[in-house]
């Protein structure tokens, strides 16, 4: 019944692990682009009466997550001339393992959370774990990487997770809320990209741990 959706979600999970394990920023951006495409397909795999609702969501996600935000990110890493994340606070292999541990735990707690949220019985079993894992991998990147540029990308990944989470409530939540979230994230990424570039212009690097030196 949910075969296509499950395939998409497994691919998203694999991409999460890839993003956590790689140091090359361009690879992270490419992975978020592929994730964005899969996210665009996801609403169409949900069987529902309100198809127009799903199409609008799908197209807006494709526009923002596949074109606009990766474009901004690529522009940013070109401007600040950073190719790799070097020596993050948490190494890549441990963060990969933590990401997988989160996936394991979220698969374990998903049935309980579905019961609490009173979601229907035939609810797709991978939606909730994929949402939690993607959001948490974004959070791990946001919290443990040294470069501000990588943190912008972590924000992108986290947004993908929140979007999957929103899909669980697709029939209940108005379209406007969903679109508002996407727009908000887009603005945030744009602002963060601008800030990063300004910091780079002023200081010549975007290492966040050295920003505390600025405190008076």
């Amino acid at each position: 019944m949910y075969e296509w959706m499950d395939t998409c979600l497994v691919a998203i999970l694999v991409l999460d692990l890839y993003i956590l394990g790689t140091s090359r920023l361009i690879a992270v951006i490419q992975a978020t682009i592929v994730q964005g495409m899969l996210l665009g397909i996801l609403p169409l795999t949900v069987h529902s009466q309100e198809t127009i609702h799903h199409w609008i969501l799908s197209i807006s996600v494709l526009l923002s997550n596949v074109f606009l935000m990766p474009y901004l990110a690529i522009l940013l890493i070109r401007k600040v001339e950073i190719r790799r994340e070097v020596e993050p606070f948490l190494e890549f292999t441990p963060s990969l393992m933590i990401g997988m541990a989160i996936a394991f735990i979220s698969f374990w707690i998903a049935p309980y959370s579905q019961k609490i949220l009173q979601l229907p019985q035939h609810f797709p079993r991978m939606l909730m774990p994929a949402a939690i894992t993607t959001a948490m991998s974004g959070f791990i990147i946001l919290a443990t990487r040294r470069k501000a540029v990588t943190q912008v990308l972590g924000y992108l990944v986290m947004e993908n997770g929140i979007y999957i989470w929103g899909l669980t409530l697709l029939d209940k939540m108005p379209l406007l809320v969903e679109l508002g979230v996407i727009l908000g994230i887009f603005m945030t990424v744009m602002v963060m990209a601008t800030v990063c570039y300004r910091v780079y212009l002023r200081l010549g690097h975007v290492n966040v741990d050295e920003l505390s030196n600025l405190k008076g």
């Binding site: 499950d6 497994v10 999970l13 990969l96 996936a103």
Partner: protein, 301 residues
């Protein structure tokens, strides 16, 4: 505990055909480089030549060095009895046989490491240490892939997994097949983990461990390597052909064997097209493979 004596014929086939599988890889590489390449049966000739020679032993070595290759070969040969091959049940089948299989498989490597350490050469000790760490990281990947298959079929025996009526399909199968391919490359010391043709001190792993072995001992080691390639490609091939519908008794074993030959060719293609990973990235690849296998285990039903 169940014995399938008729499966001994498949074990015999494995013992006879495995050097052929090892001979396919250099042939594909030669074809990629535009050369004629060695004969397909070159490994048999090598084995025959080496068995006819005498062995040279360094004075620093002990009986461990002389016994190692033989023990390594015999543990691998013993693990053949526990593995269902070419769509036939394993010769010896019992609940939990996969544990014994994986550990027999790992024990062969343990003896290879002991042999290398016994030479007292710091150079071989370095190779042994690398072999040990990569083996440690490959083992969870192999275990978790097998565990995924066992979980899917709700059994504890390998024979029931590969002969099951409801084999693993879909995304989980792709994940596990990918992990098993990396396990295949790592266990057989192939590119991107190790380069079997290298003779550069700093990058050798498996090759450096067998530098001191000669004559029959080297023949045993080569034969062990070919059996390892047979076993790992056999597991992957059976996973890949399992979803195909049943047609006749002989067709499926033939299909499985063809897949194994194709996998050997794929190893040749991989070796010709991609470079070997830098040593520090190999653990990352292997841990990544283990994590993918764990993901497969988590989503399998």
């Amino acid at each position: 505990m169940t014995w399938h004596w008729s499966s001994l014929s498949v074990v015999l086939a494995a013992l006879l055909l495995s050097p052929l599988l090892l001979g396919i890889i250099p042939r594909v590489k030669a074809w990629f480089a535009g050369r004629q390449g060695q004969p397909l049966f070159q490994v048999y000739y090598d084995l025959a030549k080496l068995l006819g020679k005498g062995a040279v032993y360094s004075t620093t070595t002990t009986w461990v060095f002389r016994l190692g290759p033989l023990l390594s070969l015999s543990t691998i040969a013993a693990s053949l009895l526990l593995l269902p091959m070419l769509e036939f049940p394993a010769t010896l089948q019992f609940s939990g046989d996969f544990l014994l299989f994986v550990y027999l498989f790992a024990m062969a490597r343990f003896f290879a490491i002991l042999t290398a350490m016994d030479t007292g050469s710091s150079f071989e000790g370095m190779g042994a240490s690398r072999e040990a760490i990569f083996a440690t990281l490959t083992e969870p990947a192999l275990f978790l892939s097998l565990a995924t298959l066992l979980k899917h079929n709700g059994t504890m025996s390998l024979s029931e997994v590969f002969l099951s009526a409801a084999p693993l399909t879909g995304t989980t199968m792709i994940l596990i097949a990918f992990v098993l391919l990396i396990v295949l490359l790592a266990e057989n010391c192939r590119v991107p983990v190790d380069d079997p043709t290298t003779h550069l001190e700093l990058t050798m792993i498996h090759e450096v461990m067998v530098l001191d072995n000669s004559g029959p001992d080297l023949a045993f080691i080569t034969y062990t390597a070919s059996l390892k390639l047979w076993i790992t490609s056999n597991i992957l091939a059976q996973l890949l052909v399992a979803p195909f519908p049943e047609h006749g008794a002989l067709l499926r074993p033939l299909l499985a064997f063809t897949t194994m030959v194709l996998l050997a060719m794929l190893v040749g293609v991989i070796e010709s097209t991609i470079a070997r990973l830098r040593l520090i990235y190999v653990p990352k690849l292997l841990v990544g493979a283990s994590m993918l296998a764990l993901l497969g285990f988590t989503i399998a039903r």
